[in-house]
Symmetry: none
DNA sequence: TGTTTTCGATCTTGA
DNA sequence: TCAAGATCGAAAACA
């Protein structure tokens, strides 16, 4: 649904300092509301989430490992989220952080975690970007433009995380499971044969996964659609040790 | 998909011009191969795909609408892909394109299409970024974030552990889910109403769980009916999926 | 509105 | 010195 009227911008109260209040006052594009947000710094039309960081902020976040956690939290939010990086490389001079570390972190966040990263020059520029984003979202939501395969990026990460709870499943196999089955629901519902078709998953791991996923009352097997043989051997007993990998 | 030894870099033959050959010669990190790629300009370890554009290139792509199609093709490729933007805003001076147009396009590509965008200064910098990406991919094994190394033994504990990967689900609710549904498979397959019947799980958490478990397609837009303020309420608004194709 | 449960941050311990 | 584990507090969601 689209909100009529001006773009609604919710700003986290902790973010209400520095150049931002003045920049917002000078910008008539938003109906601003200041409130504590559970995650992120800015929320547009209740539909887009942004975390703003100056480059020194970013350097600090990298140094103490906060960036990783924060990005993860943004990705887990059900709203599409992005990271806004404000400032130029010059601002880093005093932080003592090497530019290489920044670059590496951005590759991780952007490419591997799938969190979009946008760069802006200053606070006013950030607001401009926000207004672009809001505008485009409305257009897209109206169906005015053809919709393209937008993937809520962080979801894959979360799904992968869930599947990694399964025995024998780490990041790599979890990613392939999602790729092959499309969802956690489908992956946990897959039978032995389907699981074994996934690259990197053989009969042994497939059976472990089924074992973990199935109902414990297991002597009389009632498999859903599968008419394939039921794991040739005896049902694995509960006391069996599951090797972690 | 994992290659031992040096990073394998396939460069599209059409990309073999300008500063790149020299920069590559000066960079010993890659085993380079020049070949025609079906999509993208660079391919790392047969696992990551990159399209490189200088800022003037980008401006031209925007002007004739190519950017959009190219991004879509990259997204549709089976490999994870990213766009590398090379150069600084100064390079745009002669192109006659306004910086705003660039910004708008980047918001679209990065945020709404979900194609990661990385910025670099020059060819050497681009190669550096590529090498970071290759390095990290090997470390992460293409999957994302490793979950706890520790995995419980025993079926009940393991099942609980798997479910605890879901948002809003900790030990207590995980145990109840197992109790109610009997298995991970059944729990992940349960619909909203069934989930809500479980003690300690209400509409909010039920929706979060379904969100995490379902297939990740579509743009999430806030729904019409909820015009009430959500102060203190969850960030997770009721969402509606707009089918994307 | 009160209680339960989860989640994030900090601190500690051990390698 | 850094990483993993446990603990604590606060917020959120359920009943």
């Amino acid at each position: 649904m689209n909100h009529p009227g001006p773009t609604r911008l919710i700003v986290d109260d902790r973010e209400w300092h520095g150049a931002m209040p003045a920049a917002l006052a000078a910008c008539a594009a938003f109906a601003v509301e200041i409130r504590r947000l559970p995650v992120g710094d800015y929320c547009l039309d209740d539909a887009l989430l942004f975390e703003r960081k100056t480059l020194p902020d970013l350097a600090a976040s990298i140094a103490d490992g906060r960036l990783f956690r924060q990005s993860l939290r943004l990705l887990k939010a059900t709203l599409p989220a992005a990271l806004i990086l404000e400032g130029s490389a010059r601002d880093l001079a005093s932080s003592g952080m090497r530019v290489e570390a920044i670059r590496g972190a951005l590759v991780t966040v952007s490419l591997f975690m799938g969190l979009p990263v946008l760069r802006t020059r200053d606070a006013a520029d950030t607001l401009l970007t926000l207004s672009y984003a809001a505008q485009q979202r409305r257009t897209l939501a109206n169906g005015g433009l053809p919709r393209h395969a937008y993937r809520p990026r962080g979801k894959a990460a979360l799904q992968s995380h869930v599947l990694q709870g399964l025995p024998g499943i780490g990041p790599a196999r979890a990613a392939r499971l999602i790729q092959r089955f499309g969802s956690v629901e489908a992956a946990t519902g897959a039978d032995l044969d389907a699981l074994s078709e996934v690259a990197g998953i053989g009969p042994v791991i497939a059976r472990k996964v089924r074992w973990a996923v199935e109902e414990p009352r297991g002597i009389y097997v009632r498999e859903k659609g599968s008419n394939s043989r039921h794991s040739g051997g005896p049902r694995q007993h509960e006391t069996r040790t599951i090797a972690s990998h």
